[in-house]
């Protein structure tokens, strides 16, 4: 009987050797993930009728609109953004020039940044602006709670028709470095 039991004892004794191998849980402090968030921000498509007073037929030289945004109203945005690229694409098939001003504002309507666009008639424009952590412009981007867009029609003698449009697109590529601290 002793001989039959011995293998079980050996097995049990071998369990004394059970252990956690050479692992280092402190490595968790070094964990960093770097996702990229591609986010559509603002867009508009204005037509000839937006610049014509329907009652008088006169040109309206300036149009403006604004919206609140809360992309940056969280701790990840405050702490973990490495840099962000604001991307703009503008298609203008008006036979007139436009000056579009893109205002980044805080919640007290203080202007933090102005991003201007001079758009020639019948042209396309692509603009990427990088905001890098540690710069003033980055800090302003993070504080942004409202975007105000002002579209200025630059007068000329050309006559507008109803096929014309000014298509404005904007998006953000946000590069994050989220660590364990």
């Amino acid at each position: 009987m002793k001989l039959k039991i011995i293998p079980f004892y050996i097995l049990i004794i071998s369990l004394f050797n059970s252990c956690i191998g050479d692992v280092d849980f402190d490595q968790s402090k070094d964990i960093m993930i770097s996702p990229v968030a591609k986010v559509a921000v603002l867009q508009f498509n204005v037509k000839q009728t937006d610049f014509i007073n329907s009652d008088t037929g006169e040109e309206i030289p300036v149009r403006l609109d604004f919206t609140d945004i809360n992309i940056f109203n969280n701790s990840i945005a405050e702490n973990d953004i490495d840099h962000a690229i604001f991307k703009f694409e503008i298609d203008n098939n008006f036979n007139k020039k436009f000056i579009v001003n893109y205002y980044l504002m805080d919640n007290e309507n203080t202007i933090l940044e102005i991003i201007p666009f001079n758009v020639d008639e019948n042209s396309s424009l692509v603009k990427n602006i990088e905001f890098i952590r540690g710069t003033t412009s980055y800090d302003n981007l993070i504080k942004t709670k409202r975007i105000n867009v002002v579209v200025n029609l630059v007068p000329n003698a050309n006559t507008m028709d109803n096929t014309m449009f000014l298509h404005f697109k904007s998006a953000l590529d946000i590069y994050l470095n989220i660590d364990n601290e």
Binding site: F8, L15, S18, V23, Q27, I33, L42, L64, D68, I69
Partner: protein
């Protein structure tokens, strides 16, 4: 030192170091808790009483996709490199699970008709299953930088519950060949969180109206909770009432069968926890349903009051939540066994017509399955069960399951007078380096057992 005491000391270390699989208890009729795995098990007890709190402690933890060592090995490789290598290899069928049970009491006795063995008790259980939400992890890890990637919400499935279980069971030896049994369970859910029926897609593409177009398509997300503590008044609710009469009550049934095919062949089968819990108190159900496409806030340059563009977007896919009754199903477990018995019979001098003494050796095949939210999990086990003496019985198993194909387990049960101590370990190879192990289980307990005297009519 007496051999028995040496064994007890070693046994205590086993308990401290190792883990067990309930597959080992199935068919391991030396231990009263085998009736919890198969209420139709044939046991030879006149009565038993588990030592309160100590009669059965069970914990199982498993990760099917990787091992701790894959990430935290001290191998000089940057942990972020290891994670980046590992993540693509974890499948959406991989899961994380923890199951813990603590038996508060367990008693049993044989009725005067000698055919029926009654057992009853109460245990606490914590059960968690979470599937690897591969797409959501990818979204969190990489973001939506890949405009060809479609993220599916379907893989977000998890369930966690804490409950108390009263149970009452009867095992009846029907005739020389058949023993059947059933157990009824009364569940009191202390805490439940369930989110298993989700669907919907999220993707970002190049847009027409804007540079990007985001679409959340046919989102159907539901998260159900009960027993979540929201305020101090709920904190003051006693643990007793949470685990015994929480108001979120349910019923369950176990059923089992032992069939002696002939002198040497035996088969057993059982199912456990065919049941439900109705959650009616302290419940909250969260839902997000619908489709939303977003390509940026669309300015329209109104002439009048400005439009609240942001709220327009928010309202398209709202989070709705409120108190709502719901029903959760328990995870049904199924066990099966076929075995060949051989060798000497236990206490061979006691020959009887109705109660035969069992063989001391048994070799066979077991199957085990548990229904989980995504799909059943299966295990197949080869085992060798040997009664060495009245003092010691052991069972060794080889299992192929969701975690590995080289899972060796061992179960030991010892009797010293009326005291029974048992313990079992699953995946003993994993103990050589737990960090490399994908699953470990421990189950141990102490009972007082009075054997059934088969020689008396």
């Amino acid at each position: 030192m007496n051999r028995k005491y040496i064994f007890i000391i070693l046994f205590c270390f086993v308990i401290n170091l190792s883990s067990q699989n309930k597959k080992i208890l199935f068919g391991f009729n030396e231990v009263p808790q085998t009736l919890m795995a198969n209420p139709g098990a044939e046991v030879d007890f006149q009565w038993h009483s588990g030592i309160p709190i100590l009669s059965s402690n069970y914990i199982h933890a498993g990760i099917s996709g990787f091992a701790i060592n894959d990430i935290f090995a001290n191998d000089g490789v940057n942990i972020n490199t290891k994670i980046a290598t590992l993540l693509p290899n974890i499948d959406n069928a991989d899961f994380y699970t923890i199951n813990q049970q603590l038996e508060v009491f367990n008693i049993g006795f044989r009725r005067t008709n000698k055919k029926d063995y009654i057992s009853l008790g109460y245990y606490e259980e914590f059960d968690l299953i979470a599937y690897h939400p591969k797409d959501l992890v990818t979204l969190a890890y990489e973001g939506n930088q890949d405009l060809n990637k479609i993220f599916n919400l379907r893989d977000f499935k998890f369930k966690a519950e804490v409950l108390g279980v009263f149970h009452f069971g009867v095992s009846r030896k029907w005739n020389k060949k058949i023993t059947i049994g059933a157990r009824i369970k009364l569940y009191s859910s202390a805490f439940n969180i369930t989110s298993t029926q989700n669907s919907g897609l999220f993707f970002t593409k190049e847009g027409t109206n804007n540079i990007y177009r985001h679409r959340m398509q046919e989102i159907d997300f539901t998260l159900k909770t009960s027993g979540v503590i929201h305020n101090e008044a709920e904190v003051e609710q006693s643990m007793f009432s949470r685990f015994v009469a929480s108001g979120n009550m349910g019923l369950g049934l176990d059923f089992g069968l032992t069939y002696k095919i002939n002198k040497n062949w035996i088969t057993e089968a059982s199912f456990q926890d065919l049941g439900f819990i109705r959650h009616t108190k302290n419940t909250t159900v969260y839902k997000v349903q619908g489709t939303q496409e977003y390509d940026g806030l669309n300015l329209t340059f109104p002439t009048g009051n400005p439009i609240d563009y942001l709220n327009q977007v928010k309202n398209e896919l709202p989070l709705i939540y409120g108190s709502e009754k719901y029903t959760s199903l328990r995870s049904l477990k199924v066990n099966g066994l076929i075995a060949y018995q051989f060798g000497d019979r236990d206490n061979a001098s006691c020959l009887r017509t109705f109660y035969e003494n069992s063989f001391r050796s048994k070799i066979g095949l077991q199957i085990y399955s548990i229904l989980r939210p995504k799909r059943p999990q299966f295990a197949a086990t080869l085992f060798y069960d040997k009664k060495f003496s009245k003092f010691l019985r052991g069972k060794i198993t080889y299992t192929v399951d969701s975690y590995s194909a080289k899972n060796i387990g061992i179960g030991l049960s010892t009797r010293i007078g009326v005291f029974n101590m048992y313990g079992a370990i699953d995946n003993i190879l994993g103990l050589t380096n737990i960090a490399k192990s994908k699953n470990q289980t421990i189950n141990f307990g102490i009972n007082i057992i009075m054997d059934f005297d088969k020689t008396k009519p």
